[in-house]
């Protein structure tokens, strides 16, 4: 497949402080003791997409990510790591790496996805319709995230409701309208011309943009060049393409000339491709785009398609602390096929090199990393414990994530919290819904609820 994949791996996301730090960019946050980026790479590999560009914000983060990739998967995948300046937005990042993009179609994937929806399906839909852009949508999680009480502080979990409002045609093939729920103050305006051309539009607020897009490269680059003010793919580029789908000016003559100028032999081939895609997309009824176009000869149209993932598929973006907790819980719990580990009969994973003291229980849906030690009379439930952690006696860990090399003293009780790597909890610390930054030391005997521990 002539697809190039761009993974937008971000940098040090401010939503995830204190979990991310200089040492750990967002892409390397552990989910069940594997960096989140590895889930994305596995997902792409499963669809046989192996030509990847990982875009990271900031040089430091890029070095870290690049280091991990070269150690982990250089033999299987062809991965390039590109660093871009911080805070340029997703569209800015693509502008910065534009010279790397050569394939006919570009698949853009957010680097913080944990999912089992095949991205290959998006690519196929994109090709079948000869679309300018194809967006993958998935069902919005129905149940509240804090069902098991594993919440990381109420104020943090209450992120602004970013419901997407999405308009589809009657066959659920085309994207006719997209807006962010928070941006719409009161009135929702839909473009009449698109609605009239399509006849019907189903407006859904129970779908979510999954940040996996397939773009035609020519279209994407044209838009990025024409609109220097666009910063975000989701908020600027995509709505723009959807808005203008019935009077497309992204295929202006200029770009055609450019295309043709690239190679004379290419022209012929391109025509063939056009014919082929027309055959493919005309297999059934003509789409409203074509009807519209034939009605007014002068107008050009482009198609914005959607691929709607099955509801049973798992999809989470790791973009908040709450999401981090959820993903860790799900990957070792209900959706354990994602983790790639094989689970024991007790539905948990205890690494053979881990040491457990007497009368210590590790419940189902738990994970104990390599070389970790747990003292006597401990209880671990629904939690992930990293590698080489040292946990004292009489410790209770419920619904929490303990990252590598953390030290937890005797008699601690931890609930719904995240302990980052190298952090230390002294004796008899009680934490509930807290986050402890990497390397932080929590004093003995203290009791905290819903707090964040970080060095200023």
């Amino acid at each position: 497949m002539d697809f190039q994949v761009v993974i937008l791996a971000g940098g040090f996301s401010s939503y995830l402080v204190p979990l991310v730090a200089k040492e750990v960019p967002k892409a390397l946050l552990p989910v069940a003791n594997r960096p989140v980026l590895s889930y994305v790479l596995d997902l792409l590999e499963s669809s046989n997409l192996k030509d990847l560009i990982v875009v990271v914000e900031g040089e430091d983060a890029a070095l870290k990510v690049g280091g991990w990739i070269s150690s982990a998967c250089v033999d299987r995948l062809h991965v390039e790591v590109a660093a871009v300046a911080e805070n340029v937005g997703t569209a800015g990042a693509l502008r910065a790496i534009a010279h790397h993009l050569t394939a006919k179609d570009i698949l853009i994937v957010s680097g913080d996805i944990v999912s089992d929806i095949p991205p290959g399906a998006v690519a196929a839909t994109h090709r079948r319709h000869d679309a300018a852009v194809t967006v993958m949508l998935c069902a919005q999680p129905v149940s509240g995230p804090s069902e098991s009480g594993g919440s990381g502080g109420k104020d943090k979990t209450k992120k602004p409701a970013c419901d997407d409002i999405i308009g589809l045609d009657s066959l659920k093939q085309f994207l006719l309208y997209i807006a962010k729920g928070t941006e719409i103050k009161k009135d929702t305006r839909v473009k009449k011309s698109i609605l009239c051309a399509a006849g019907k539009m189903e407006i859904r607020s129970d779908l979510m943009d999954s940040h996996i897009y397939a773009f035609k490269r020519a279209v994407l680059q044209e838009v990025l060049d024409q609109k220097p003010a666009f910063r975000s793919l989701k908020q600027d580029v995509l709505p723009y393409l959807v808005r203008t789908q019935l009077r497309s000016d992204v295929f202006s003559d200029q770009s055609n000339v450019e295309e043709n100028g690239n190679g004379n032999g290419k022209n012929n081939m391109q025509n063939n491709e056009v014919v082929l895609s027309q055959i493919l997309s005309n297999a059934s009824m003509p789409s409203f785009h074509q009807v519209y176009e034939s009605g007014l000869g002068t107008r050009k149209t482009h198609k914005c398609c959607v691929y709607i993932a099955d509801e049973s598929k798992y999809f989470v973006r790791l973009n908040s602390i709450q999401a981090f907790m959820d993903v860790n819980r799900d990957v070792i719990g209900e959706s354990n096929h994602l983790s790639g580990y094989s689970f024991s009969a007790h539905h948990n994973i205890v690494h053979p090199s881990a040491e457990l003291g007497s009368k210590t229980t590790v419940g189902p849906h738990c994970m104990l990393g390599e070389g970790s030690q747990v003292g006597d009379k401990c209880s671990v439930k629904r939690s992930v414990i990293g590698r080489h952690c040292r946990i004292g006696s009489n410790v209770k860990i419920v619904n929490s994530v303990v990252m590598d090399h953390a030290t937890i003293g005797d008699g601690c009780s931890i609930q719904g919290s995240v302990i980052c790597s190298n952090a230390q909890l002294q004796e008899r610390v009680t934490l509930r819904d807290c986050q402890v930054e990497a390397g932080y030391v929590v004093c003995a005997g203290s009791e905290h609820k819903g707090e964040t521990f970080a060095r200023k």
Partner: protein, 676 residues
Amino acid sequence: MASRKKRAAKISEDSEEEQSRRQRLQAILLADSFATKLLPLTLERPNVLLPLVNIPMIDYTLAWLESAGIEEVFVFCSMQVIDYLNNSDWYSHKDFTVKTIESPQNSTSAGDALRYIYEQQIETSQIQGDFVLVNGCIVSNMPLTQLIQEHRDRKKKDEKAIMTMVIRQSLITDHQLFIAVNPLTKQLLYYDEDNICFDKSLLDRNPSVLLCSDMQDCYIDICSLEVLSLFVDNFDYQHMRCDFVEGVLADDIIGYKIFTHEISSCYASRIENFRSYDMVSKDIIQRRTFPYVPDMKFSGNRTLKLERQGIYKASDATQLPSAHVGASYVIGHATNIGSGTKILNSVIGNGCSIGSNVVIQGSYIWNNVTVEDGCEIRNAIVCDEVKVCAGAIVKPGVVLSFKVVVGRDFVVPAYSQVSLLRQPMEEDSDEENLLSGVDLQMESKLGLDGAGYIWRQACEDEWKHSVPPIPKDKLAEIIKAIDDDDTDDESVVTTSGDANTSINNDLFDFEREVDGTFLRAVEENIVADLAVLEINSLRLSYNMESAHCAGAIFYSMMKLAVSTPHSSINDLYRNASSIITRWKGLLGFYVKKSDEQIEVISRLEEMCEESAHELGTLFAHILRYMYEEENDLLQEVAILRWSDEKAGADESDKVYLKQCEPFITWLKETSDDEDG
């Protein structure tokens, strides 16, 4: 009917059996459309009596209601219709009762009609429960019993479901109706004829909303009695759709719901203008409305014989063999057609005489019309007893009303409407002088021996509502207009980089509201605390910060001071200071922090710039007044910070800073002293 009762009795429980036996299937037919779209014809004859493929429209509607299972229909109509019904055999049908309600003189809308029916209802209670409301002349063949049952079941489950509206996929593209329904429950969520702009809360309540632009409203509603009482409660409701439906949808306090029912296999269409008249006529000829087609007997009509190519011909119509007739046309009883005449896609009524070498295409010729030799009639409606003299040409889109005579060789211009009656003048037009000029224009006779007035066109877009197909260029125009509409929106659309415009708009609205509230507070002399409450509620609804409130209030105060009559600068100062003193409780509530105070200072600065000569000179005084006299409405921290911020500004911006320089130096000195 007896058998139906038996069946119902078997199915239902005892109590329900009682109820369903009492509830006959009833319908209200508003046989007066209250619309002016069919003028000038409706001046002389009510629209339900106009012939549609040679049969009065009301016969189609009544025949459908009877076969759809309705047992009793109330026809709300004028005297003329009652006369017609008296002469017809509709009263003698078994199991189908037709009752007429004569429309009172003053009823001018569907709302008035329903209110009148409700008044009668109180006395007679003739409508027992859910009923079918048929609005105008409708040609349909859809069954109703099932739908009524569905409506009743839904009503039983949900008290608020008071109406079910019938819609169907529309084949015409030139009308506009935007509706939104919930795809699961089919509840109607939005109904608008020219705009799509709905509240976001709609989406919060419904995860999925189906927005349609290709639906047509059939004007057939299954209503519960609540609908009538709603019309009485809201005495300003006139139109069934514009007022009632939109009113119900907008009102989320009572929470009445309207549901939709989409029909696909059966036919239902309303005649509201000449265009739909043409559409429905063609549908009848093409037998979409079966069994209501010219070769079936469904009312008092005499059947025609169906020949090949969709030609319906009366047995006693005579047609010379040399006359050429094309596909799908209808020819009535006792009509003669001369030699060499071409007729295509047209309907010709009873007792007409058509001369030789006439061309009639896509037209509707009613009864007893005389068309002399060599005429040409295209896409026109020609009413009863019209005479078109030899050689006349009737252009597309023309309507010739009753008994009009078109003179020899006269060309009736396209889209004109001709009547023997003068065009009624709009009563409220106060341009008397203009009218006389128009009168002259109206006198225009139809050729030498013609009779009739050509009416002035009320609106520009008559091509939208007339018989002939819409010309290509107009169609393109419509699409372009829609596009342009959207382009206007586009300019409003902002990128994520600058989302300020909408906030600015909000701010503007907010300030206007605050101003209004403040002035009212001054007028009614409200205690400051109460004013604070009001402003607070505004602030919450607009989601503003208290700095915005402070700015807005201060702006209103100063505006009041300036607008209060004053003779000198000193007067103005006194005004301003007294207002500040009077309302310091209100302003003080919002200026507790120095940010808010700085906002106030900069507002003062802005105002001074706007009314440079008056308020400008007072800047320092007012500032000082607010600092000294009114105990810390402004605190020195804020004033000093403001002056620091200003220090770096352009020279032109520093006018007021300089004005109060002595004051600020003094402030600085005292604060230094205190520190020392």
